[in-house]
């Protein structure tokens, strides 16, 4: 058990105390216009604390401790103050993306609201109309609606006391249209995780945090804002859109704001290495960047190399590359390296598939090898690699499911006892229980380094975004009339470079002509792009009855994926991006 349990103070108390001891210290900065220099909205700890106490004052009227508040905010300091206000009031914060203008976004927020049953919806002045319209459409007319920008309500004096096991927030990880899963995180979980992150990297009040990751993403809140507040430092946030439009802007913000810690999914590093021009590179100084954290999707050796090489002229140091592992079910941070060059091991792909990490002694990567990136050492949680079939704890060097136990592992899924039991109460064959089953396949080697090698859960992660296959399947069946009454499966596949991509296999009725099949296949790609916002790299249409299901009717996605990768499906129509890595190709290469 973690020795710190019970000794870590609640974040509300920590921040409230910073307001007394370092009132003028910067707590949060929002780079409001990321294309123009110098336009920054800042809150000191004193200002943040007062804003949060005012929010807590309003919440005290509309909610009781333990009630949920849905936080629908644009990026900015208003979200940070509202979130802290929830902690001060003992109200469970439910961060969510804005409803936006796309149907899939609105459905997602409506599904979160239906599941969380908030007593209040909080937003900022800029999004008052958007959120108000959404509330009417989602049947939330009876829910309290609070615009927290420039609130002048009477503040509470102090955060209300809460127990370590009281809920602090629900972290929804999916864009679910069906059954959204909200991870229940307690006051102790979020404080412990912030403490773990900062102690792992020996951070202090002088460590400046900042990133463009959205605040409703676990890495944007628990991996950025909360650890900054925990040590009494500052978090600088910029808009995700500003980064996507102009990737170099992220690096400019790191430079201009002297950031020590900035985190992003792997794709962002890849995008910067590709997109930043020589002109943009000129004048950029990345020599002070100490932690370029890379997490929330598969970390790729090739991306680390490309980024380090591209930005070396700007002073970027390879030892700043900081591959991390984490997941929302364990708050966010589980492990990471730091202050050393990334550790990369070239291993034999076939041996890895058979369950062991075996070094491949070749100087360059081949199709028969894989370069595994270490995500560091799990220091503050009890980590086991377990045979997912029978619960046997596996020795070092063997591939199995990663199981975790400890103070930052969440309390389960909100109002979902069945999934909570399955995922949060893993029991080993030798009788140790209470483990979080991560669904990720991993190896821990003899140096305690953690390597994530694959996944046995059905979740698909594209560019750091969690996508549940059910959402894709549900959406295409709703939008494509030909699919009514038939079955299909969506699953994740890997590109040759190691990126995750989406594949869809769906049944069609008999007797369709080639052009009708092509039309349906095209509709799948278009629907997935428009409604889910990702590309379907592979679409196959198959005969009715050929999508495997269990006797209870559950679609066997992993078995279907396996058959797809081995080319065992007799597809009536098929469009597979050549980037998709198929199993037989790997065999040919080996």
């Amino acid at each position: 058990m973690n020795p710190r349990v019970g000794s870590v103070r609640h974040l509300a108390d920590v921040v409230h105390e910073h307001a007394a001891t370092t009132p003028t210290g910067l707590a949060i900065a929002h780079v409001t216009d990321a294309t123009a220099d110098g336009s920054v909205h800042e809150l000191t700890y004193q200002e943040l604390d007062l804003a949060a106490r005012r929010v807590a004052g309003v919440l005290a009227l509309a909610c009781r401790p333990g009630d949920r508040a849905l936080l629908l905010y644009p990026d900015g300091a208003d979200f940070a103050a509202a979130f802290l206000g929830c902690l001060y009031a003992g109200v469970v914060a439910v961060p969510s993306p804005l409803p936006g203008s796309y149907r899939h976004q609105q459905r997602r927020v409506a599904a979160i609201a239906a599941d969380a049953e908030p007593a209040a919806v909080l937003t900022a002045e800029a999004t008052r109309a958007e959120v108000s319209t959404f509330m009417d459409a989602a049947g939330l007319q009876q829910t309290a609606f609070v615009v927290t920008s420039a609130l002048d309500a009477p503040p509470v004096d102090d955060p209300i006391p809460t127990g370590p096991d009281s809920l602090a927030l629900l972290q929804y990880t999916s864009g679910s249209t069906g059954t959204p899963k909200g991870v229940m995180l307690t006051q102790a979980n979020i404080a412990e995780n912030a403490a773990m992150l900062v102690s792992n990297f020996r951070m202090s009040a002088t460590t400046k945090f900042g990133a463009w990751i959205p605040h409703y993403h676990d890495m944007g809140l628990m991996g950025l804002i909360l650890p900054a507040w925990y040590v009494g430092s500052s978090a600088t946030i910029m808009s995700p859109t500003a980064f996507l439009r102009r990737p170099v802007r992220w690096l400019e913000v790191v430079d201009e704001h002297d950031l020590d810690w900035s985190a992003a999914p792997n794709f962002a590093y890849d995008l910067c290495a590709r997109m930043v021009t020589d002109d943009q590179l000129d004048g950029l100084d990345l020599s002070r960047w100490r932690y370029a954290a890379n997490g929330s999707e598969r970390v790729q050796a090739g991306t680390l190399d490309a980024f380090a090489e591209r930005f070396a002229p700007a002073g970027f140091r390879r030892e700043a590359l900081n591959p991390c592992y984490g997941l929302a079910e364990a708050t966010v941070f589980v492990s990471g390296t730091g202050c050393r060059p990334p550790v990369i091991r070239r291993v034999d792909e076939a041996a890895l598939g058979a369950g062991t990490m075996t070094p491949a002694n070749v100087p360059v990567p081949t199709p028969a090898t894989r370069d595994l990136v270490s995500c560091g050492i799990v220091r503050d949680l009890d980590a086991l690699v377990v045979d997912p079939e029978d619960g046997t704890v596996l020795p070092r060097g063997r591939v199995g499911e990663l199981w975790l136990r400890g103070s930052s592992v969440g309390a389960g899924y909100w109002r979902n006892p069945e999934e909570t039991e399955r995922v949060f109460n893993g029991t080993t064959a030798d009788g140790r229980s209470g483990y979080l089953r991560t669904g990720d396949l991993a190896v821990i080697d003899h140096d305690d380094e953690l390597y994530v090698t694959g996944r046995i859960k059905e979740l698909i992660i594209v560019r750091g975004r969690n996508i549940y296959p059910q959402d894709i399947e549900h959406t295409i069946r709703e939008e494509i009339p030909d699919f009514r009454g038939l079955f299909g499966a969506a699953f994740g596949v890997s590109s040759h470079a190691g990126d995750e991509m989406i594949a869809v296999v769906h049944e069609v009725r008999p007797g369709l002509k080639e052009e009708q099949l092509a039309q349906i296949g095209g509709a799948v790609k278009l629907t997935v792009a428009r409604e889910i916002g990702v590309l379907a790299a592979a679409v196959q249409l198959v005969r009715r009855g050929s999508v495997e299901r269990t006797t209870s009717g559950k679609v066997q996605r992993l078995a279907i994926r396996d058959a797809f990768l081995r080319g065992q499906h007799k597809a009536l129509w098929s469009a597979v991006d050549p980037e998709v890595a198929l199993t037989d190709e790997d065999r040919r290469g080996s």
Partner: protein, 86 residues
């Protein structure tokens, strides 16, 4: 750059070079009439490429143009129409 100075041929060459750099391909492998999505230019790259185009030409370009005119040739010709119409 003023609109009168838009040079469609120069723009095509520049855009092909830019896309080739981003995709780590040889410029000769990028065909001006092939939809860019076939080379793997998805919404992530499209957004950033639009910004590059704006900076290169010094004019505002709607992000949707990448979808409405999905190849180098179509985009260059649409921009030529747009920039010489005023």
């Amino acid at each position: 750059m003023t609109s009168a100075a838009f040079d469609e041929a120069e723009f095509r060459t520049w855009l092909i070079d830019r896309i080739a750099t981003v995709l780590k391909r040889d410029p000769s492998a990028i065909d001006a009439d092939t939809p860019l999505v076939d080379y793997g230019v998805d919404s992530l790259y499209a957004l950033a490429i639009v910004d590059d185009i704006e900076n290169h030409l010094g004019v505002a370009v709607e992000a949707t143009m990448m979808w409405d005119y999905p190849s180098v040739a179509a985009l260059a010709s649409a921009l030529a129409d747009q920039l010489t119409a005023h």
